[in-house]
């Protein structure tokens, strides 16, 4: 077996080496620069539902993990106090109405009699008293409206379609106005946040197609980029320092970690049987529309 001449052998080897270098650079571009991340999270908007009035809960109509629709009754705050408040306000309305009628008829009489029988002063006084009584009456009406509103608000309704989560209310619990007692995960609002490395952000723009694979496996979910976050917190800098001067972390010069930028992906089609839970981990792969990154391997 004879060997070929050295120049030929050199050339043949170098050609193959060159081809390998080209392939390697393509592979690097494809696998390292392609806009994909394993750090995706399924997210949903969560309503922190708080009652508008305070009071003890007398009845709970829902349970944990129950699917609710907008307008469903959730729980009932003891309405007795609010019913009494309505009665009080109603009584005040009746009282001020009587006073107003009295004051108005007085004012009308003063206005009707001759100048000899009533002075201008007392006429003005009667007119002012009538106006005051009317204002009192309107005030009482408004108070009645507030009392009725409180009575209505003692029943708490669902504000969105969704699933009640982490809920453990029992009758007898005291709820306070404005303090959230119940979380509803809005089932119409599921989306995915892909935390893409900043090095992979080039070429991504809203509208690009995205493929989402849940960590649990199963068929892929399709979606599209709807927006890119405009800012993230600077982890290298402590926001407040005791000396009022900037407190910047010393980092390694040659080892740098790419920051993760949230890219919001709206879901276009969720295959049947895929159950989304806010907080799930997923892999997101984005295909930029323009040529270049992530389109073809070779």
């Amino acid at each position: 077996m004879t060997t070929a001449s050295l120049p030929f052998r050199l050339l043949a080897t170098l050609v193959v080496l060159l081809a390998a270098a080209l392939v390697a650079s393509q592979l690097w571009d494809y696998y390292m620069d392609a806009p994909w991340t394993r750090d995706g999270r399924v997210r949903a908007d969560v309503v922190d539902l708080a009652p508008d009035v305070s009071g003890p809960v007398v009845q709970v109509f829902v349970h944990d993990n129950q699917v609710v629709h907008e307008g469903d009754k959730l729980f009932q705050i003891d309405p007795a106090r609010f019913t009494l408040a309505v009665q009080q306000a109603q009584a005040a309305v009746d009282r001020t109405r009587a006073a107003m009628q009295q004051a108005k008829s007085d004012a009308a009489r003063y206005a009707a009699v001759s100048n000899n029988a009533a002075s201008g002063l007392s006429r003005d006084q009667a007119s002012a008293t009538a106006q005051e009584a009317e204002a009192e009456y309107n005030l009482a009406l408004a108070n009645l409206g507030v009392a009725e509103l409180n009575q209505r608000r003692s029943t708490v309704y669902a504000s969105v379609n969704g699933v009640i989560t982490n809920f453990s209310m029992r009758p007898g619990d005291y709820v306070t106005a404005g303090k959230p007692v119940l979380a509803i995960v809005d089932s119409d609002s599921f989306y995915v946040d892909a935390y893409l490395e900043e090095t992979k952000m080039r070429g991504i723009s809203p509208g690009d197609a995205a493929k989402i694979t849940l960590m649990q496996g199963g068929p892929a979910i399709t979606g599209h980029v709807s927006g890119i976050a405009a800012g993230i917190a600077d982890v290298e800098r402590t926001p407040t320092s005791a000396t009022l001067l900037a407190d910047v972390n010393p980092t390694f010069t040659w080892v740098r970690l790419a920051a993760r930028i949230p890219v919001r992906v709206e879901l276009d089609h969720v295959p049947d049987g895929v159950k989304l839970v806010a907080g799930m981990t997923c892999t997101v792969s984005i295909t930029p529309r323009d040529t270049g990154n992530g389109q073809a391997a070779q």
């Binding site: 077996m1 004879t2 060997t3 070929a4 050295l6 030929f8 052998r9 050199l10 043949a12 080897t13 170098l14 193959v16 080496l17 081809a19 390998a20 392939v23 390697a24 393509q26 592979l27 494809y30 696998y31 392609a34 994909w36 394993r38 694979t213 496996g217 892999t283 792969s285 992530g294 073809a296 391997a297 070779q298």
Partner: protein
């Protein structure tokens, strides 16, 4: 295919798996070349084998991207 390959809970980068497949193919290619005496035309055998391995990895990756 971009993403990961789930091996009983351990997630492997696809490129690693493609490289392993290419390594297996490379053994066959080396045997064939040795049997056919093609190494006569090669100047530096380990360098040549390494290059072939990278090209095979690229081909496997291309084939897998078509398949998945």
């Amino acid at each position: 295919m971009i993403g990961e390959i789930d091996l009983f809970g351990v997630y492997l980068p696809p490129l690693l798996v493609w490289a392993l497949i290419a390594q297996a193919l490379g053994i066959g290619v080396r045997r064939l070349m040795a049997a056919a005496g093609l190494y006569r035309y090669v100047w530096h055998r380990p360098l040549f084998d390494f290059s072939v391995l990278i090209i095979l990895t690229g081909l496997v990756s291309l084939a897998m991207n078509r398949l998945f």
